[in-house]
Symmetry: C2
Subunit: 308 residues, 2 copies
């Protein structure tokens, strides 16, 4: 195989009680990418459409991730990468993760799969560190493994794929405001109270149990975040009203996607998801902020090859 | 039914990554209790053997728990309680929890089960608050529900029963030193670093997943505690050596039971449990501390009626 063309999806990280560990993969939203083998060694970003991103391999997350992989698997030929960006940078739904994960996925396929999806996560994380200032796995993991993932540990890296209950559906609202990940990181406190930490891990343990049991009511009771959301939600316009509107329309959970400004709602089934989307649309329109709205099932496959 | 005679088991709380939320129920260790209906209204502790505990209903955990139940279900008769104490108070394996849980279990049975096991947990918690200064559920929950339990929330109370993998076996070492729960609480910090909190909830989420998957290796990797153990282990003689000895002998986890001084090891299977017990015995003997040692499966039933 000389060339591969695929869809690299958006993802939601920092899912409520699972700050820095829990993420899930989306379906209809994502970038297209082409990775092509070249005679010349090394990595080249040959095309970027849809967004103004650096072509310099050392500054582009896809390039950094690709070089991290090739450092562990040196070859005497090279790769060029085309990125057709659909996920907006800074939207909070894993734009850089899609590029980083896609790049190592494509190269690994063309090399005959020397690495497992789990191993690819660590290369993609190196790409992520260019975008976020920290090598976190909670977006690249669901893109590469599909479904809902839990990062048990980053050093050494261990990611667990959790069950995705079949009716679980996500609604993503992207209020088009500027919010840099670095700023959203700065607002976080370095310490948390033991009391709130205990509540958080009680909820996360319960949420994991609920996924295995397909218990949507328990998911709803455990999708809470008393630590990060109270701080970061201040940066998102109308957050509490959006949350209330989504819950009133039947959402089982609502929170900040990644470090925002996108927010997500989770529902049981598509019908409720449409009602939640309608409620969010009405609410965000009322304050005059431009937005994008998506409905997605949980993408249990992750990256998908696009047939010719 | 006028009288019920039953076994109320010991339990392990604060299981490594699950501080304040995760507990499991033991089997061979426990108290015997008799609860008997009386014509005279109110609660009376009529007999306590094996330990010097208060007969005053307001000061005895079994009495306080019983009164909490009867406050919600008033009757014009009463109950007397006999307690044959085998679990040593202050040993860290839920001595007060066995009394509190047993008391409400027995009364509920004699009343024709007006309350669910889950509802009994909240009455038993009131008993616990007399012993510990705080109403915690992580010992009484596994005694009343059996198996491995997760306290998602204390207000409102919600306890989830997790799966108990069939080969999971516990080894309990009780070094006979004095250690008051209140002191062990004082040593805890009020705040924890966000970094350590994230590691802890990553591990707890992974441990819950491992229980569903019966993945003993993942249980082993996730049975860690970077928050409470580093502080409380300082109060337990030879802790690090005991931990190393148990791991070397094949334990998948090792930690402080409750707030100590008992420690627990978890193993896959009875054979390894016996080897771990032998290693712990050798180690604790070498420093000249008197001890008790128990091997137990996870008691998935909890309290058990003793046939006449």
């Amino acid at each position: 195989m000389e060339e591969i063309n695929f869809f690299s999806p958006a993802s939601v990280a920092n899912v409520s009680c699972g700050f820095d560990v829990l993420g899930f993969c989306l379906d209809p939203i994502g970038d297209e990418m082409v990775v092509r083998r070249t005679v010349a060694p090394g990595v080249k970003i040959s095309k970027i459409e849809g967004q103004d991103l650096p072509f310099d391999v050392k500054k582009n997350v896809a390039g950094v991730a690709a070089e991290a992989l090739l450092k562990e698997f040196p070859v005497d030929f090279g790769f060029e990468i085309e990125i057709y960006k659909k996920i907006k940078a800074g939207s909070g739904i894993g734009s850089s993760a899609a590029s980083a994960a896609g790049s190592v996925y494509g190269i690994n396929e063309l090399l005959g799969r020397p690495f497992t999806a789990h191993e690819l996560v660590s290369f993609a994380m190196e790409g992520e560190s260019v975008a976020c200032g920290a090598a976190h796995a909670d977006n690249v993991a669901p893109v590469l493994l599909g479904g809902i993932t839990l990062v048990r540990s980053t050093a050494p890296l261990e990611v667990i794929k959790l069950p995705s209950p079949s009716e679980l559906t996500a609604v993503i609202l992207h209020p088009k405001i500027e919010l840099k990940t670095l700023h959203a990181r700065e607002i976080l406190k370095k310490n948390v109270s033991m009391e709130k930490a205990v509540q958080q891990w009680g909820n996360l343990g319960a949420f994991v149990s609920a996924l295995y049991q397909e218990d949507y009511e328990l998911m709803s009771r455990s999708l809470k975040d008393g630590i990060v959301e109270p701080m970061r939600s201040l940066l998102i316009p109308n957050f509490e009203n959006l949350k209330k509107a989504s819950k009133d329309a039947g959402a089982i959970g609502f929170g900040i996607s990644g470090s925002g400004p996108s927010v997500f709602a989770l529902t049981q089934g598509l019908k409720t998801a449409k009602e939640v989307a309608e409620a969010l649309k009405k609410n965000i329109s009322s304050i005059g902020i431009d937005f994008e709205l998506h409905i997605s099932n949980i993408n249990n496959q992750g990256i998908k090859v696009i047939a010719d």
